[in-house]
């Protein structure tokens, strides 16, 4: 619907990719680990290797959780916009089909947070 207004109404998208100085936004959530209160937002260059996100960035984000050290990356299930998805760790974000403001989630089978409470 158009915004009801007394004249033509146009908004400016504040979060166009051009505003991020060469980066694009990627949102990442870890299923069953709600001790991290919400998914995270990251600005990454599209050329960044996907594996570098997991190996170099996420430990600083998730490392506090006792489950983090036990994650078996060969068993992790991935989702993009809620649909099953398979990333290639050695390819870039762009080559993995990740665009600006995409949201991915990962599930770590067998790990369900503090005392199995999804915390």
């Amino acid at each position: 619907m158009a915004v009801s207004a007394i004249k033509e109404y146009k908004g400016e998208n504040k979060d166009r990719v051009e505003n991020f100085h060469g980066a694009q936004l990627l949102y990442i959530g870890w299923e069953d680990h709600l001790m991290f209160c919400a998914p995270f937002a990251f600005p990454f260059p599209p050329q960044m290797r996907f594996g570098d996100v997991i190996e170099k960035v996420l430990p600083g984000t998730y490392g506090y959780h006792p489950d983090w050290a036990r994650v078996d990356w060969s068993k992790v299930e991935w989702f993009k916009s809620g649909q099953p998805w398979t990333p290639n760790f050695n390819r870039s974000l762009a080559e993995n089909g990740l665009g600006h403001k995409d949201v991915i989630r990962f599930r770590t089978p067998g790990l369900a947070g503090i005392g199995g409470s999804c915390s």
């Binding site: 619907m1 158009a2 915004v3 009801s4 207004a5 007394i6 109404y9 146009k10 908004g11 400016e12 998208n13 504040k14 979060d15 166009r16 505003n19 991020f20 100085h21 980066a23 936004l25 949102y27 959530g29 299923e31 069953d32 709600l34 001790m35 991290f36 209160c37 919400a38 998914p39 995270f40 937002a41 990251f42 600005p43 600083g60 984000t61 506090y64 916009s81 809620g82 665009g99 600006h100 403001k101 995409d102 949201v103 989630r105 947070g113 503090i114 005392g115 409470s117 999804c118 915390s119």
Partner: protein, 520 residues
């Protein structure tokens, strides 16, 4: 000239109201009325007879000044007494004062915005009845902002985090939630503003802040907040009445108004529910002595009182807001999810956070038997153990936000508290993300409005939240520290855990000084 007065006829309340609110204006002739009042038709609301607007209290301007002056005298007498008597040392616990900080940062600026909104809407409506009602409400809201600043300035002399609330309101991440709520309302048309603020917010929701929370402030010894809170709420009782009157007026004027009003009710009840999640955590976690749980307050003031209201409005073809089902499911979880979010980001908040002590956790278990022990106690106990080992958790990665309510995506799927609720849509080739179906639907109805959202996390990543002259490419640049400087948040004083804070130390020392004489 014969100056003898005519025999006095004392007018009754209804007559006096009619005399003081009707026939005060005129039909313009040099300019068409539609040019003088350009904003009161474009939303599609049809008004046939503006005189059908009635203020049920029939308050006229002369009576208004008289009673408001009396309220102010009482209020300032109490504030002065409280300050003279070092009342701040009588609160239950210095943790309590963090509710005052959040109030000043997040609520007081809204009072001022409400003042601006009603002043604008009063000018926009061509009927004199609603114009006078808006004028009084604009003055009330300004009074609330002023009295709150006066009352809370007393705390600013002793405690951290209250020094630059106005600056913070424009910048700090969690304050974008109340700020964007009100900016959404004031940038809408005048009738939407009235339904949003006058009805949905004032009638359905402000009771939850100003009644059980303020009663809780009294229970915790804060006479200051009790007096400004109840003084404001006595005006709110009038606003609620006008909000209800406004809805009835719109619904009775023309059947074409009904679907428009229904959509606004759906939108603004939901926007208000999301905004009130801050109050949920204030009641369940930040009041050291609790009057009632958030869930109990919710049932009393939203489900029962709101239910009665919507049942009454059914005769106009209005149904209860769409979000009712979801909010019923959220009431067991809301305060816990929001408080743990602030615990996560305790380094970036201008008030202190903490883990509830063992007694408080037991109280929470008792009040939330379905949810607390199963979902929330485990993470809190883990954090408590870690903090005792010197490893207090501070989340340093920025969260994903909802495009509409701007709250971090902390809410879980309705009916499944183990899964974050993700919703998304595309508009003109870009993706947008939401915490709920309701926030998504609000966006999709007016995307051109909400693509303009100033989302704090994205603004930080765009480099717009550093002080002028900051060089983010400099070696050793610490973005979090730079953002906090931009917020005027004093690291180590305003933020971090309550345990070990300057507020905690000072309060303990001053309390000690109250009962002992200093020697030497």
């Amino acid at each position: 000239m014969d100056m003898k007065a005519a025999p006095k006829h004392k007018m009754g309340l209804k007559e006096r109201y009619a005399a003081m609110t009707r026939g005060l204006d005129w039909e313009t002739s040099y300019q068409p009325m539609d040019k003088v009042y350009p904003f009161d038709k474009y939303e599609g609301i049809v008004i046939h007879d503006w005189d059908k607007w009635q203020d049920p209290f029939r308050l006229t301007m002369d009576a208004y000044w008289k009673y408001q002056a009396e309220k102010e005298r009482k209020l300032y007498a109490i504030i002065d007494a409280y300050a003279q008597n070092n009342g701040h040392l009588n609160v239950t616990d210095a943790r309590y004062i963090n509710t005052v900080k959040l109030f000043l940062q997040g609520v007081t600026p809204l009072e001022y915005m409400a003042h601006r909104g009603f002043a604008h809407v009063g000018r926009a409506l061509r009927g004199p009845g609603p114009r006078i009602a808006c004028q009084m409400q604009a003055l009330d809201e300004l009074r609330h902002a002023q009295t709150q600043v006066h009352a809370m300035s007393n705390y600013n002399r002793y405690y951290n985090g209250l020094h630059d609330w106005r600056h913070m309101y424009e910048r700090v991440w969690y304050l974008s939630v109340p700020k964007s709520f009100f900016e959404d309302a004031v940038s809408a048309g005048p009738f939407e503003f009235l339904v949003a603020v006058g009805f949905s917010f004032e009638y359905v929701l402000t009771n939850l802040l100003f009644v059980p929370f303020v009663s809780g402030a009294a229970y915790n010894g804060d006479m200051n907040t009790m007096t400004f809170g109840f003084s404001a709420q006595s005006d709110e009782a009038r606003h609620m009445t006008l909000g209800l009157e406004c809805i009835k007026f719109l619904l009775e004027q023309d059947p074409a108004n009904v679907p428009i009003v229904q959509r606004w009710l759906d939108k603004w009840c939901w926007r208000g529910v999301r905004l009130l999640s801050l109050v949920a955590m204030m009641m369940d976690y930040m009041l050291p002595k609790r009057v009632m749980s958030w869930k109990e307050a919710w049932e009393m003031y939203f489900e029962e009182a709101g239910g009665a209201l919507f049942k009454d409005l059914a005769r106009y073809g209005i149904r209860e807001p769409k979000c009712m089902q979801q909010v019923r499911l959220e009431k067991d979880h809301l305060s816990h999810q929001v408080w743990t979010t602030f615990y996560n980001y305790g380094a970036a908040a201008a008030f202190h956070t903490w883990i509830p002590d063992a007694d408080e956790m037991d109280w929470l278990s008792q009040k939330y038997p379905e949810s607390f022990d199963k979902y929330y106690r485990p993470r809190m106990e883990y954090w408590r153990e870690q903090a005792a080992l010197g490893n207090r958790y501070y989340n340093k990665t920025l969260p994903m936000l909802c495009q509409t309510c701007q709250i971090p995506m902390l809410f879980t799927e309705p009916g499944d508290p183990t899964k974050i609720c993700y919703r998304e849509t595309s508009y003109l080739g870009d993706k947008f993300h939401f915490c709920s179906d309701h926030c998504k639907e609000i966006f999709e109805y007016e995307p051109e409005k909400y693509i303009q959202a100033w989302l704090p996390v994205h603004q930080i990543y765009q480099g717009n939240c550093f002080e002028p002259g900051t060089d983010p490419t400099a070696p050793g640049f610490d973005p979090l520290a730079a953002v906090l400087q931009h917020y005027h948040l004093n690291f180590g004083r305003d933020n971090l855990d309550f345990e070990g804070s300057e507020d905690q130390r000072n309060f303990a020392a001053w309390k000690g000084a109250v009962t002992r004489n200093q020697v030497g």
